[in-house]
């Protein structure tokens, strides 16, 4: 009798253990944040940890990039589009117990747009002419001119609401309004956040989350396989993904990023100052071979410097189809029937190192010999980016909406086109969505038809996630690992 009882107890314990879903999670990230204040640094690693988890803004991004209500439950826009009246949620408390009120919003926005502000995205706030608290839960934001994307701007990690009471130690002890409170930071290893019991919204399923920083791809692979981490956001080695895909314990998520990977061409250097030569280079490149060979199939071919998931994207890949024979003919036309030799400088990421070897082989087919040098980032910045001492190089430009760099003649590929510069100027003062879209499309076409750079592919965001873990974002509309909707299934 006694024995059966023990047995049933044991069985009940086992069953009980299996029934209760896990409530903690360990997320692997490649980069450790320098500190934890998203409003005073550009480092994406900060937002990955704190965005929406610890800090919230008036509005927030959804997983699909849509803009949803955040701390503001609703808003009204004046007829002329220059005054936004935000109605704040009531009963929202910061992690230190103080109440969120309109004063905190005024403080945060004024701090971000102040002259001495160190905010990395001050342009987001440039249009604000004044912020005032109408009452405790109502904030009025005045704009100097109507702005179509103001609510989008307020969803950025750089626009989160902070409190004057806790601003002093924000870099080491971030106090926000989010669903998780900051718990612990083991420098060089991990950051832990735990569930906020007083959260205003739906309580998250997770009680505790740990971000573990692993920069070495082989170590990331080992940690994932051993089950030390439950998900790796932005997995650094695409070659391992096939293995994770084949393993029923894991899911592989492949989403979009803002990273246009290009074969940058030194437009002022002979012979690349001739558009025929640049076109020949572009046509000698087999984009699919690079995506398969360097990224193991993850990536979307692009024909211009614009993200394919953007509604204004124009598919211009046909401007430079893979055609070595035509490329060779173009080279001959430009006066280089026997080709020429140039330098190909490669920074450390594997898309550049591997992609570089493939491109070198493809260019050799049309007679262009490349001298490859593998550089560290510091050397690359000094020689290629600042020193213009390169013929070709490969970089992924990960900033969102960065087509404007082509309007800067001093930028490292040294593209100087007055028409394009005028167009970008027009764009920056244009508010009408339809006209903006037209201008953006025109801009994409100009650089594509000028063959400024070899446009290769859009970098994919690949994450490896435990098959039982739900709710990890697939795409990266902003740098964030939003854990509020993450949960374990049985």
């Amino acid at each position: 009798m006694k024995r059966t009882l023990t047995l049933t107890t044991a069985l009940a314990l086992i069953a009980g253990g299996a029934w209760a879903a896990k409530t903690d999670v360990t997320i692997g990230l490649q980069l450790e944040p320098p500190h934890l204040d998203p409003t005073s640094a550009a480092a994406g690693a900060i937002d990955q940890v704190v965005y929406s988890n610890v800090f919230e803004g008036l509005t927030r991004f959804g997983p699909d990039g849509s803009v949803n209500p955040g701390l503001a439950e609703s808003w009204e826009i004046s007829e002329d589009g220059t005054t936004y009246t935000f109605k704040l949620r009531s009963g929202v408390k910061f992690h230190d117990g103080t109440d969120l009120d309109a004063g905190d919003v005024v403080f945060s926005l004024d701090r971000a747009r102040a002259e001495e502000s160190t905010n990395a995205q001050k342009a987001l706030f440039a249009g604000i002419s004044g912020v005032e608290a109408a009452d405790d839960t109502t904030v009025k934001v005045m704009l100097s001119a109507p702005q179509g994307n103001f609510l989008f701007n307020m969803a950025w990690g750089d626009a989160v609401i902070v409190a004057p009471e806790s601003i002093e130690n924000i870099k080491t002890n971030p106090i926000g309004t989010g669903a998780f409170t900051f718990a612990d930071w083991k420098q060089g290893d991990s950051i832990t956040i735990s569930r906020n019991p007083n959260y205003w919204g739906d309580a998250p399923a997770l009680e505790e989350a740990t971000f573990k920083f692993i920069s070495e791809p082989t170590a990331a692979f080992g940690a994932m396989m051993a089950g030390d981490i439950d998900a790796f956001y932005g997995y650094p080695a695409p070659e391992n993904l096939a293995q994770f895909e084949a393993d029923p314990r894991f899911n592989v998520l492949a989403g979009n990023t803002e990273g246009e990977t290009i074969l940058a061409i030194n437009n002022k250097m002979e012979p690349f100052d001739d558009v025929k030569v640049r076109k020949a280079v572009s046509m000698a490149i087999d984009r699919q071979a690079i995506i398969d060979g360097a990224m193991f199939g993850y990536g979307t071919p692009i024909g211009t410097h614009f993200a394919p998931h953007n509604p204004d994207y124009v598919d211009l890949t046909a401007n430079a189809p893979f055609d070595p024979a035509a490329a060779k003919a173009l080279l001959a036309e430009a006066g280089y029937p026997d080709g020429f030799s140039t330098t190909l400088k490669l920074p450390p990421p594997s898309y550049a190192r591997r992609g570089g070897e493939i491109i070198a082989a493809q260019l050799r087919e049309i007679g262009i010999e490349t001298e490859i040098s593998n550089l560290e980032w510091a050397q690359w910045l000094e020689q290629a980016f600042r020193g213009y001492d390169y013929g070709l190089t490969i970089v992924s430009h990960t900033e969102p909406m960065d087509i404007g760099i082509y309007a800067r003649p001093e930028y490292y590929f040294q593209y100087d086109n007055a028409d394009f510069q005028t167009l970008i100027n027009d764009l920056s003062v244009e508010n009408d969505p339809a006209t903006r879209s037209d201008l953006l499309k025109k801009a994409q076409t100009i650089i594509s038809e000028d063959y400024v750079n070899g446009f290769l592919f859009q970098l994919a965001l690949t994450s490896v996630v435990d098959a039982k873990l739900n709710g990890i974002w697939e795409n990266a509309p902003t740098q964030a690992v939003d854990l509020t909707g993450v949960s374990w299934s049985e």
């Binding site: 082989t218 070897e357 001298e371």
Partner: protein, 282 residues
């Protein structure tokens, strides 16, 4: 020793036979690769990547679909060329320095040369090689120079040590009496008497040179792509090791066997050529 005697002794030494045959296999592979390789090593075949060893690709293919056997053959060229030139630099500079230092033991020249050697010796050779290539940029030439510089003190010391004992011998005295100057004596009498030692040391340094080249290429400071190099093949295979272990195994074995072969050959040669061992041991 007569020629027949040398051959006889050489064949009797198992180390030497095994070591030389291993070395010859790789030397032959390198020589053949000048004329012919199974596949072109600069030709990528992305759809055919990461194939396991088969009849058409004996050692399989790498992450770009290149034939690994062909790459190992051409890589042998690289390794052997770098090592030969590096040992050549070491001998070409080190031996004359050693001979000069030995002329007058304790002279100013001796001190300057030997303390200079100590200085170079004091640094871990691979670290300095990394520094040289980091400052002057990674390339095969800089790798050769870096490895060569570290061979200089090895040969200078060895030469000086052996030469000093020969300078005290009677036949040197008679050469001096007959009016030969120190330079002439060094070349005509000292050098032939230290050659055996130099050959043995050269073999060992040669294997170290191959290792150093592989190490530099592994960290990306040696021969640059697309020229195949065993060290870079290993580096490329690192993240793929669980997916395609053959990518790491073959270049790894190539390095292991060449270095082993050269060391065995060096040991065997020492048994036969080194006068000290010959007199006491046999």
């Amino acid at each position: 020793m007569t020629e027949a005697g040398f051959l006889h002794a050489a064949l009797r030494s198992r180390n030497l036979v095994l070591g030389l045959s291993l070395t010859l296999v790789f030397a032959a592979a390198a020589l053949v690769s000048f004329l012919w390789t199974p596949y072109d090593v600069t030709q990528l075949d992305i759809p055919g990547k990461l194939q396991t060893p088969s009849a058409s690709h004996w050692f399989g293919t790498d992450h770009f679909g290149r034939d690994i056997l062909s790459m190992i053959m051409v890589g042998a060229q690289t390794s052997i060329a770098v090592a030969i030139v590096a040992v050549g630099i070491g001998m070409g500079v080190g031996v004359p320095l050693g001979l000069a230092a030995a002329v007058h033991r304790g002279s100013l020249m001796d001190e300057v040369i030997m303390r200079g050697n100590d200085l170079v010796f004091a640094f871990p050779s691979l670290l300095i090689a990394i520094m040289i290539t980091a400052v002057f940029g990674p390339s095969a030439l800089n790798a050769i120079i870096a490895i060569g510089i570290f061979n200089i003190p090895v040969f200078a010391r060895l030469t000086r040590g052996a030469a000093l004992s020969i300078w005290t011998r009677d036949f040197i005295l008679s050469a001096r009496v007959s009016g030969k100057g120190p330079a002439r004596i060094s070349i005509e009498h000292i050098l032939p008497n230290v050659t055996n030692l130099l050959i043995v040391q050269g073999t060992i340094q040669f294997s170290l040179g191959i290792l150093a080249e592989a190490a530099l290429s592994y960290v990306g400071l040696g021969v640059q792509p697309p020229t195949p190099s065993w060290g870079r093949m290993l580096a490329d295979s690192q993240t793929l090791i669980s997916l395609a272990p053959h990518m790491a195994l073959f270049p790894g074995f190539a390095i292991l066997l060449t270095v082993l072969g050269l060391n065995l050959a060096g040991d065997g040669l020492r048994d036969i050529l080194d006068p000290r061992i010959r007199r006491t041991g046999r």
